[in-house]
């Protein structure tokens, strides 16, 4: 298989490597941050940021479809569902 791609959208392979390594480190740090945040309400916000980081990671892996899915679900729909559940639980504790 030939790896010579000359479309207007390609970047040099070294640059892509550096980008991927950076975003992988950020994703690892983000996962650690999500787990180490103890209060669930704060954790939902950190999860939203983690979702955006994952979306950028998928973009550097040349997967725009998965990026769209992760953005809509991980940064919007999932935090909404989580916050609604937390609101229900907190209301009963009052």
């Amino acid at each position: 298989m030939t790896l010579a791609v000359t479309t207007p959208y390609t970047v040099p392979v070294g640059f892509m490597d550096a980008l991927q390594v950076t975003i992988l480190i950020l994703v690892g740090a983000g996962a650690t941050a999500v787990v180490l945040t103890r209060r669930p309400v704060h954790q939902v916000l950190v999860l939203s940021i983690y979702g955006v980081l994952m979306a950028v990671l998928f973009l550097t892996f040349q997967a725009p479809d998965v990026t769209l899915s992760e953005l809509t679900v991980g940064a919007v729909a999932l935090p909404i569902i989580l916050l609604l559940a937390l609101a229900k639980v907190r209301k009963r504790e009052e």
Partner: protein, 114 residues
Amino acid sequence: MAYFPFVVVAWILCAGLYGIVTSRHLVHQIICLIVAQSSTYVLLLGVGYVTGAVAPYYFDVPAHTQAVDPVVQALALTDVVVEAAVTALLLSFAIQAHKRFGTLDPQELASLKG
């Protein structure tokens, strides 16, 4: 660089598992489960990546340009959306447990009877 993404996958999975094991709140546990699940997406996409290739969409690049594997992307794509619905189901269980037992601490819930 050849194995770095997979090491990050292991790190994310172990972080999620650590959160599940040492959690004191059911919703915190569920969010750590989400993190552990997200490691599998990175693994899937990492397996299918081809260095120097473009995304598998031939709308504006000439046909037969080298592209990354589309099958793992299809898997990861449906996976992400379905996981959200299953998480909602888990949360509804947590809500009902809170209604029934009054507490959301998994270590207290384990020792409740009836």
